[in-house]
Subunit: 412 residues, 2 copies
């Protein structure tokens, strides 16, 4: 049994995490929100209070923290008595925050792989580049560290684990498809930090096919999918954290990630990329100022948080799993549909942030209750899927399945 949560980050996902923690503070205890910019944390606290989101009376506080500073993070963990840290700040912070957790004994949760700010699209094996190097260290310290506990990675890993445990004797392929059929009404915007968003797509795309890493260019391999609720949408092979962990942990021969993109997004992205404006390497202006182009692109784009009030439409994210059960070939699509407007009304963020933030809170609750407090490092597919998906059914991200028996809600 662990209690008291420290949320690191103050973006759209942190906002969702704070609201959901508040809604479940009978399980989670005190809540602290910390990021470099105190005002952003305070705005989240104000938003939680405005919605009266705290289920029971309890602490809800904002703190300024540079989470690259391990000692400062340790001090805040100690001061707040946090036994669970939900890291939804920049992916550049993962290793620092993990160090603070290992040294204080607090449980660690994140939603995306660690990134080095000076490297884009590192080559696989991704988790093995940073996180998995610290497995022994976590186990020795008895620290629970749950990696990639957002939606994708996160919930889609649990879908894969469920399929692996319940629906197949042998899985041949997992295709994770992420479609955002929402409309934010702007000329162009990214749904989360543009810097992180673009970094995903500027290098080579890596997928795991027939038991080996396969590389191609971004937007090179596209396919039209026909998914529940959102209908026909084009998605493209994209490198994504869970391709590595699922192929490695569940030993599935083919794991691919497909991200939906409209032609307009691809055009804007292509122009920016070809001009060199998505580069993380500094350039020198004629006036001698050293500038990182990607940071300027980020500065001119809408703040992803600002999109939420006008965002309409739905997301559909799921796993198409193919394989064999009882000697027969079969395929199932396990998925969730989320609604941007409903997300905004509940927690003040759009659907993309909602799908990323709610699972991290579910993971925290399972650590609090002990079910996922495994005292070692684990990816989501190494943990029992049913308590996680069952909890998500209750707190906002219900699971559905579509197979030869139809399209229906899954109960756990």
């Amino acid at each position: 049994m662990k209690k008291n949560v420290l949320i690191i980050g103050a973006g759209g996902v942190a906002q969702v995490v704070a609201h959901k923690c508040a809604q479940n503070n009978d399980v989670l205890g005190d809540i602290t929100i910390a990021s470099r910019t105190l005002e952003k944390c305070e705005a989240i606290v104000a938003s939680v209070r405005e919605k009266n989101a705290l289920k029971v009376d309890g602490k809800l506080e904002a703190h300024a923290l540079d989470a690259m500073d391990v000692e400062a993070t340790k001090a805040l963990i100690t001061k707040t008595g946090a036994q669970i840290v939900i890291n939804v700040g920049s992916p550049f912070l993962n290793m620092s925050v993990m160090s603070a957790c290992i040294e204080t004994g607090a449980a660690y949760i994140d939603t995306a792989i660690h990134e080095d700010p000076m490297k884009i699209c590192e080559t696989p094996p991704w988790y093995a580049n940073y996180e998995w190097k610290r497995r022994e260290e976590c186990e020795k310290a008895g620290v629970t560290a749950i990696l990639g506990a957002g939606f994708d990675p996160g919930v889609v890993n649990a879908y894969a684990k469920l399929a692996y445990d319940e629906y197949f004797d042998k899985i041949e392929s997992i295709d994770i498809v992420d479609i955002n059929a929402g409309d934010h009404g702007r000329y162009f915007a990214t749904n989360f930090d543009p810097e992180i968003n673009f970094r995903e797509f500027t290098g080579q795309v890596w997928t795991w096919q027939n038991n080996e890493w396969t590389s191609n260019k971004m937007f090179e391999v596209g396919k039209e999918w026909d998914l529940p609720v959102v209908g026909k949408r084009k998605a493209y092979l994209t490198g994504h954290d869970e391709v590595h962990s699922l192929s490695h942990i569940l030993k599935v021969p083919t794991v691919r990630f497909w991200m939906g993109f409209g032609d307009h997004y691809i055009n804007v992205f292509t122009v920016l990329k070809n001009l060199g404006l998505l580069s993380e390497q500094p350039v020198l202006t004629a006036e001698g100022q050293e500038v990182i182009p990607l940071k300027v692109v980020k500065a001119v784009l809408p703040d992803p948080g600002s999109l939420a009030p006008d965002y309409t439409g739905k997301t559909c994210i799921g796993d198409l799993v193919k394989g064999v059960k009882d000697g027969k070939e079969r395929e199932v699509f396990i998925y969730n549909v989320a609604d941007h407007k409903e997300a905004f009304e509940e927690v003040g963020s759009q659907g993309i942030s909602y799908t990323a933030g709610v699972p991290a809170v579910a993971a925290a609750m399972l650590i609090a209750t002990g079910e996922w407090d495994v005292k070692k490092m684990a990816n989501v597919e190494e943990l029992p899927a049913q308590p996680f998906l069952g909890l998500l059914n209750k707190i906002g991200l219900p699971t559905r399945i579509k197979d030869e028996n139809g399209d229906r809600a899954l109960e756990f």
Copy 2:
């Protein structure tokens, strides 16, 4: 009779001007090239020497100069004994350089209207915003100041003047069409300073139609033209310096400027503009750095000078003039065709720089010989066209005409 030339600027156009001045230094005397960056000036001097371009023995020197500093510019004029200043630096410099000329008595030549760095696409009347305010001052000082003596504005103004004097009793409209049918082989590049290039197109487009200023959006009004050599090309209404001066000085009811653009240019431009990346107003990055997006775009784009070696194809720029002669409606197209590769072989710059730089040297030669040394401020259409066009026939930009009598070279 005036002698000795000070060239201000060290870009592609300055390179052309230096070569052409050298080729005609029997008329022009000593040549000095000055800009903020001495190395750029020295590179131009080296290029002129490499081609053995100096017609007769004579001085050819590079100097560092911040031409915003009027006193420094005056001192350099005095030191070099320059009686003619060709300003082909940034359009932000015009007023400062003009001050230095007025105070020293040197003749002034430029190729584009003055611009305030903090304003984009100022509303008409353009020349009246800055240059024409100083007409009396020039006249009083007896200083020759020739405005807009590049190709467009410049040669196209002389074409209009020629049509006005020789081919029409009454002109109804002048449509200036500028088509670059060249290919630089890059994903995207501008043919001159990107900052200046984009500034032309980010605001409203102003044209003079039926004796009044008419405004529309950039790329809103397009038309396919079928021109000599370059064939069918689409061009769009664009605001341009000479629309103002020609309508005002020649009292023509309709003066329009059409700039040719390919769909790819328009797409890149539209993306950058809609994202706010062409803004001359600073933005703040997440790290707190103040940056002007347009300057970052400039920094990532190819240096226009670097395009020259690979540039192939031709430009066609001319005036379609409609009106009445001897009671009959007629129309003539007066134009020049230039070749990128030939320009590079002769002076080491591409065709766009060539067409802008050669006319400024022709203007300098006409000041040197006295024909254009009018001791006041003048736009090109206020000066006799024939000596100018006759000289251009000899030094690289021959004039052709297409009318009811066919398509032929014009001799003067």
